[in-house]
Assembly symmetry: C2
Homo-oligomer: 315 residues x 2
């Protein structure tokens, strides 16, 4: 359990003893009688981004990390409230770019701005509370009691590699084009809204991968009292990540793929021997649950991939 989860479980969970909160174990709260899901995420200068960060990209990421929670619940985007705290000097250019980013993504995702608050602050602080519409169902289950199969959408690892490449720690070797693509994946994630909806009522749990694949699996493993078994060769990676793997120490790259945060792909499970229909979205089976505990990662020779790394946390 990372520090953020520890604090949530120990300090805030005792306050959230109501049906709507889903015991703080899902990606959003669920107001069943209103057919709404609601979630909030923040981004803080120095913690989630630096002063150099383009405000237009920042606005998009802010909306999209919130949209990813809506996707994980299988809901449709409805609208959001926005908190913006910025320095009270030279804010015109910053705000123009920020608003342009918001506007583009509000159109793209059919999102309405409902309200917000504005303040001055030395460091930029941003938060969004997002509302999503549901029909009959939402992804409410957050564990498995079966030896189910484990799936992910899209590719894993691009955002984590992009972050490290952007911060030059460590400086992975790869082509300029490759670097830029990975950095872009880190800067502007793609919330999996469509597939989130399509999977409603077909899968067990469904969550988005924000803290790194293994960290998310550890949480679910603990909650489900099951062992997670993952196969490196099944983990879907992009051509760019493939390039980084081929030109650098494989272990170090794999650690970033598995533990790097902010993929914002969906992670879900399907009861054993059940199959999903074909979707236009990429979906990959990466492993399965078994009796036991913890997360085991196997390489192509069937050996355990050992690492001391832990997941990604903003705390």
């Amino acid at each position: 359990m990372n520090k953020e989860q520890f604090i949530i479980e120990n300090y805030f969970l005792p306050l959230a003893d109501n049906r709507e909160s889903l015991r703080l174990k899902n990606d959003a709260a669920f107001l069943r009688d209103k057919n709404l899901v609601i979630s909030t995420d923040m981004m803080i200068e120095g913690q989630h981004f630096t002063k150099k960060h383009n405000p237009e990209t920042l606005a998009k990421k802010l909306l999209r990390i919130n949209l990813s929670d809506i996707a994980a619940m299988g809901a449709d985007p409805l609208g959001f409230l926005l908190n913006v705290a910025i320095p009270n000097v030279d804010y015109d250019k910053w705000l123009k770019l920020f608003v342009r980013g918001l506007k583009d993504d509000m159109k793209k995702y059919k999102l309405k701005l409902f309200g917000g608050d504005m303040s001055c602050s030395k460091k930029v602080f941003l938060s969004v509370t997002i509302l999503g519409k549901t029909k009959k169902y939402s992804h409410l289950k957050n564990f498995t009691e079966s030896n189910s199969d484990i799936y992910v959408t899209g590719n894993i690892g691009d955002a984590g590699l992009g972050l490290k490449i952007n911060q030059k720690m460590p400086s992975f070797n790869c082509s300029k084009v490759c670097k830029q693509r990975l950095i872009n994946k880190h800067l502007i994630p793609s919330p999996r809204l469509n597939i989130g909806r399509l999977l409603l009522n077909k899968v067990e749990f469904c969550t988005d991968i924000s803290d790194g694949l293994i960290e998310e699996l550890l949480v679910i493993s603990k909650r489900s009292k099951k062992q997670v078994n993952i196969f490196l060769e099944n983990i879907p990676i992009s051509p760019e990540t493939q390039e980084v793997l081929s030109k650098n120490k494989q272990k170090e790259v794999w650690e970033t793929i598995l533990f790097g945060g902010e993929d914002y792909e969906l992670l879900f499970s399907l009861k054993p021997n059940k199959n999903l229909e074909r979707y236009k979205e990429k979906i990959t089976k990466i492993g399965f649950f078994s009796d036991g505990s913890g997360v085991r990662i196997y390489d192509k020779d069937g050996n355990q991939f050992l690492t001391k790394k832990r997941g990604f946390s903003h705390f």
Copy 2:
């Protein structure tokens, strides 16, 4: 118009072209088909409070400034989402006190914690998004087209004086008991939920006084294209504020009463010659609208109270 309002009108209002936002002119957004109002407010270290601030009191104020928006809409508190960013050292004592403050007020106001986000940050950053239930009505009108009477709940000025006394700028003379009571009014406001509901469908506009009485009246005067006339001797003040007035330069104290922020009383209007029934809450008529523009303040001799002061703004 203060800087905060300027930024909202110029940068964000163009994005909020939807029915629910009420054009960002009310204290909360209104989701009519869900019978919900929703609003968000933030509190930032260095801007809204200092490191010395007791986290228990901070938690209560955070909830109550949000509850005040629910009161201004005439709604019932339902639940909230919470963003907390704090330094990642020595957080145990801070969090314990903060959670205790939340817990007390969640019980007092029947509020549910739905969810939130947690992050690390050098400076404390807090935000709450609050949901309120409505029945048929909400306070949706935000101006008057009549020469209506202007009313406020409770007393005006305590919080503004409490802030100045706390910051020792200027250092007003008054007894120790008086100082402490005024500081407490600043630290822990009382959202006027009951009277907010009782006034539904009886008054014209209804808003809470967060940026100072005159600043709020200026906004409504402009929006209504009416002149606001206010009488100093009608403005309700507490015995403590009366004591400060009697022991200091009256002009300076009145400026703080009129322009100091964070009263969180309700400000509303009633068509001319209409009367309100009696409530157990204190309600005072402080003036009226007339044809014209701007805000005029008259002293007991009928002379205009002139001041260069402007309202309170967090930007």
